[in-house]
């Protein structure tokens, strides 16, 4: 799953699941997951604001949990499941979080948005009915300089209700 480079080789290889697709990639062994996603796999939806683990703009889900991809070595990601903003929607439809963020002004410049979206998804996966304070807490590692966060909180809450509704309607479909 992970091939380390020998002395004479310049690249390492991993196989992992990226947004549900089995993916092989070779890359310079010093690269972070962020760099491999953006530079070697063309997944530029994930952003960076410091590459030091301070701003939160590069968050992705690694095995379902939010991580700062600028602090993760790609070499450590063999066999893992990674979800980025590109993998949020399904079947051509936006994820309810994406819809809510778009409708409610939660994305202004949109630069911190991909990371906040996946972080919010991780929260809702774990806790389908978070309180406002739990939402605040969950995204407190993601800096946004545009919105003042309030429309982000509201969008997460709107998505939460929509997802709950969808679940309800699924469970109500008769056997």
């Amino acid at each position: 799953m992970t091939t380390l480079p020998t002395e004479s080789q310049k690249s390492a290889q991993i196989r992992f699941t990226l947004n549900g697709e089995e993916t092989d990639v070779s890359f310079a062994p010093y690269k972070t997951l962020l760099e491999v996603l953006r530079e070697d796999l063309g997944h530029t939806g994930t952003k960076h604001g410091c590459e030091l683990g301070e701003c939160g703009a590069c968050a992705v889900l690694l095995n379902g949990k939010p991580v700062l991809s600028c602090l993760v070595l790609a070499l450590d990601c063999g066999g893992t499941e990674v979800l980025t903003v590109e993998g949020l929607g399904e079947g051509g439809n936006l994820h309810p979080l994406q819809d809510a963020f778009a409708d409610l002004g939660a994305a202004q410049c949109g630069y911190c948005t991909p990371a906040i979206l996946v972080t919010a998804k991780a929260l809702l996966d774990l806790n389908p009915h978070p309180s406002r304070d739990q939402i605040r807490e969950a995204i407190s590692g993601n800096l946004c300089r545009c919105t003042g966060y309030l429309q982000i909180f509201e969008a997460v809450e709107a998505a939460m209700l929509k997802i709950a509704d969808q679940r309800k309607s699924v469970t109500q479909i008769p056997g």
């Binding site: 953006r38 301070e54 605040r136």
Partner: protein
């Protein structure tokens, strides 16, 4: 323009039937670029990857002030994987955003002026290789004495950081007097003198600056850059590269936040352009976060002294403001900032006599420039806190005091700024009501307090940065047989929603959906010039240009449809993608059919619109900074809780009312207000662009105290209080559909409201921003010791002010000119440019 209506409250985010019969404008909508943003498909500059693309890195000075004796790049050039090494001699021509401050070089030739000033660039196959090669460049520096503060700059005229400016290390001196201020003070019942300090802060846009340049197949140059001002970058590139501007194309990529920090032409942009031309391959650069801190151009640190005379009833009889401004190492927008620091005091309250003296000095720190509110938040802080003190002394409620002295609509101020609609009184009344101010002010338990403050901001600078008589914004529309419309405009999307403004206005006028519109913006080749996303100008200026272009298109289409339907064209309406007879709505055609009829009748349909601001009555030298077609107004109440043991301040709630004219898209308007409140709160409580000297044995350099996001404290989601936003809508005749600005004004009242709330809570005056726990504890200790319960500067240093230009205000028969200045028409072109600013 549609019929105007009474002011009313917008129920934010509650879709409503628009009372004006508008279908798009005023209705909360998903912005046109929202889908791209939430799917990660917005292509920011660093998201551009091109075949054969090389990467660039800059070698930056570790010294705050030094002469460059010699640069040896031979080892770097020989490093495997390095394509090119550039030094100052490759790009020696000086540039700068203002015509009067052409003091920057893309790579320093013989002198560095702050830590982070670039001296060489490496272009290599890999970014890492470029990094490695920086270590192989040998620079021989001769260390020079450094200046760390304006006080030092005043006391140390030699060595000069620049060979231009007023004298010594003074970059710019301004002295203006509108009416006899001493007479004003003589009439006063009380005179207040207060000094304040406002620390610098930085934009901290989450996107780091990035740029990619290519030599086009035909030999021309294209550059994509995270710039707020593609037109000004276009001009700077033509100058430095000595290329015809017609052979340069600048594409402003959507900015991952701007806030003013991407408004200057930058050295890294020039470097990648030069390298791409030399190498004939794409060249990219993306700055590290540390580099962004050293590029800066943020809020100037300002020391201020306000002397204000008032009658017992609160009427102001005269005001004298002095500012000492820390400009950093280059001019940037600084001349404009110096004027701005004294410009807008008169726009909120009636000030019959006003004197302003401003001094900007050079220091060996990263240059300061425009940050949200450009030059005006610092004096607004001082003015509003002083008003709080005045209200207390006069025993008048601070809200009532302000209501007595607010300026009125269409007034011309002492410094000859013509105001548009002024709904500041309504803003004050609204926040007083919704915050329950009367039940809280001076009535909350010890440790809790409320503060109130107001502000104004321009809706677009009335004059361009360089002297010209051309429009400030242009829009071109292409009407397609498909029924779709393409909008071409130089306006730059920095997150504020400029694309949505354009689409919304065009869709409203033509009765179509914003989804039927394609936008081509921020591209100097594709669209007519828009001067850039600064000074809150895009909604009004590009918006009016779009309105004009759409109306012209509508007239052409109406003529063709009227002929076809045989009805008078005045009776036609454009609604819901149909063009029909208002007297017989069933009689009509689809919008697409209408476009086809027009194309068949008149040929290919394209229209243009443009906007030039009205002429300002401020004719005196310096009167070019501050005029605007109209101004926005804000009033805010901030509630704080102060822990008397630790000095820690928490903010449970903020109420803000903003006089916006009309909210074109209320969802976005509310976002701009809340974002401004957030950024103001950061400045009020924690944000500091601060410097320190390294110990002598470690070079003694003047370095940024914390050039990292972790250490530069900004509010997180945990710090953000509840915000109640009230939009006051009385359409202003100058704005498209009556719109005024919203992106900057609501930031301004937050800092003074916080400081006044702290006073209400624990009885100490913090006359300095940010209001930190340390300062509160010091002031509480003073209070306990029975001394002046205050923290802040006590002294304003001596400055050799020039004789002020004396401009009699309108009510003294003034005509907008200075009585002691040679007529403006005799002045040189360069001096003319000096007053033109963003």
């Amino acid at each position: 323009m549609p019929k105007e209506k009474d002011s009313r409250k917008t129920l934010v985010d509650a879709p409503r039937a628009n009372g004006d019969g508008l279908r798009v404008i005023g209705v909360p909508r998903r912005r046109v670029d929202a889908r791209a943003k939430v799917t990660g498909q917005t292509r920011f500059a660093d998201d551009i990857f091109l075949p054969r693309m090389a990467h660039s890195k800059l070698l930056r000075s570790p010294h705050p002030h030094a002469r460059i004796r010699k640069i040896d790049t031979s080892r770097a050039a020989a490093h495997p994987g390095v394509y090119l090494v550039l030094t100052g001699k490759d790009v020696p021509i000086q540039y700068g955003i203002l015509p009067v401050s052409q003091d920057e070089q893309a790579l320093c030739v013989d002198r560095v002026r702050h830590v982070g000033d670039p001296v060489a660039a490496v272009i290599a196959r890999e970014e890492l290789t470029a990094f490695e090669a920086l270590d192989l460049i040998d620079v021989d520096y001769e260390i020079l004495a450094t200046i760390s503060s304006p006080e030092e700059a005043l006391a140390t005229p030699r060595p000069r950081i620049h060979e231009y400016g007023e004298e010594g290390n003074i970059h710019k001196l301004v002295a203006l007097e509108f009416g006899n201020v001493e007479e004003g003070f003589a009439e006063a019942d009380e005179i207040f003198e207060d000094t304040f300090f406002f620390q610098g802060s930085t934009h901290l846009a989450i996107e780091q600056h990035a740029a990619v340049a290519i030599k086009d197949p035909d030999g021309k140059l294209t550059i994509w850059s995270s710039t707020q001002t593609p037109h000004y970058l276009h001009r700077a590139l033509a100058k430095v590269l000595e290329m015809p501007a017609a052979h340069i194309r600048v594409i402003a990529t959507p900015n991952g936040g701007g806030f003013g920090g991407k408004s200057d032409p930058f050295n890294h942009e020039i470097v990648v352009a030069k390298a791409a031309l030399m190498l004939d391959r794409p060249v990219k650069i993306c700055l590290t976060r540390e580099e962004v801190f050293y590029c800066h151009r943020g809020r100037h640190p300002v020391l201020m002294k306000f002397k204000t005379g008032v009658k017992k009833d609160g009427a102001i009889t005269g005001m004298h403001l002095q500012t000492l401004i820390d400009g950093g190492a280059y001019g940037s927008y600084g001349v404009a900032s110096t004027f701005y620091a004294g410009a807008l005091q008169t726009t909120t309250y009636h000030i019959p006599r006003y004197r302003y003296q401003g001094c900007r000095t050079f220091t060996n720190k990263p240059p300061c420039g425009p940050k949200r509110g450009h030059g005006t938040p610092q004096p607004r802080f001082g003015q509003e806190v002083q008003l709080d003190k005045i209200a207390e002394k006069l025993k008048i409620d601070p809200a009532d005091l302000r209501l007595r002295i607010v300026e009125s609509s269409n007034a011309v101020t002492a410094n000859f700024f013509r105001l548009g609609t002024v709904n500041l009184a309504e803003c004050i009344r609204r926040v007083v009501k919704v915050s329950d101010w009367k039940e809280k002010f001076r009535k909350l338990p010890e440790g809790r307090g409320v503060g109130l403050a107001c502000s104004a901001y321009l809706t677009g600078a009335g004059l361009p940065i360089y002297w010209n008589k051309m429009p400030h914004s242009g829009v071109q529309l292409k009407f397609d047989r498909s029924g779709g419309i393409s909008i071409f405009c130089g306006a730059t999307e920095i997150g504020q929603g400029s694309d949505d403004v354009l689409a919304g206005i065009v869709a409203e006028v033509l009765g179509i959906d914003t989804f039927d519109i394609r936008l081509f913006t921020g591209d100097t080749d594709l669209g007519p010039v828009d001067l850039g996303s600064y000074s809150s100008r895009v909604t009004l200026m590009a918006g009016n240009a779009a309105f004009e272009a759409a109306e012209r298109g509508k007239a052409i289409i109406a003529a063709a449809v009227a002929e076809k339907l045989e009805v008078p064209k005045e009776r036609l309406r454009f609604v819901d993608k149909r063009v029909f007879d208002s007297a017989a709505p069933e009689k009509g055609v689809t919008f697409q059919e209408a476009v086809c009829l027009a194309e068949a009748r008149f040929g290919t349909i394209g229209t243009v619109g443009s906007y030039t601001p009205p002429k300002s009555p401020a004719l005196y030298k310096g009167g070019g900074v501050g005029p605007s077609p109209t101004y926005s107004y804000s009033a805010a109440v901030v509630e704080v809780a102060v822990n008397p043991i630790t000095g820690w301040v928490t903010v449970p709630k903020i109420w803000i009312a903003h006089d916006i004219g009309r909210a074109l898209n209320p969802t976005l308007a509310r976002g701009q207000v809340e974002g401004s409140v957030y950024m103001g709160l950061g400045e009020a409580l924690m944000e500091e662009q601060e410097f320190r000297r390294l110990p002598k044995k470690l070079s003694h350099a003047l370095v940024h105290k914390f050039p990292s996001i972790l250490e530069y404290k900004s509010p997180t989601s945990l710090d953000m209080p509840e915000v109640i936003t009230e939009l006051i809508e009385e359409p202003d005749p100058h704005g498209p559909f009556g719109a005024k600005e919203v992106g900057q004004g609501p930031l301004l009242p937050i800092m003074p409201a916080v400081a006044s709330a702290v006073y209400d809570a624990v009885g100490v005056r913090i006359d300095e921003i940010p209001v930190t726990p340390e300062k509160i504890m010091k002031a509480l200790a003073e209070k306990k010791a029975g001394r002046d319960p205050r923290f802040g500067p006590s002294h304003f240093p001596h400055v050799n002010w020039p004789e002020p230009l004396r401009v009699p205000p309108p009510w003294e028969g003034g005509d907008g000119n200075a009585v002691n200045d040679v007529p403006r028409r005799q002045k040189s072109r360069q001096e003319k440019e000096q007053v033109l600013a963003p």
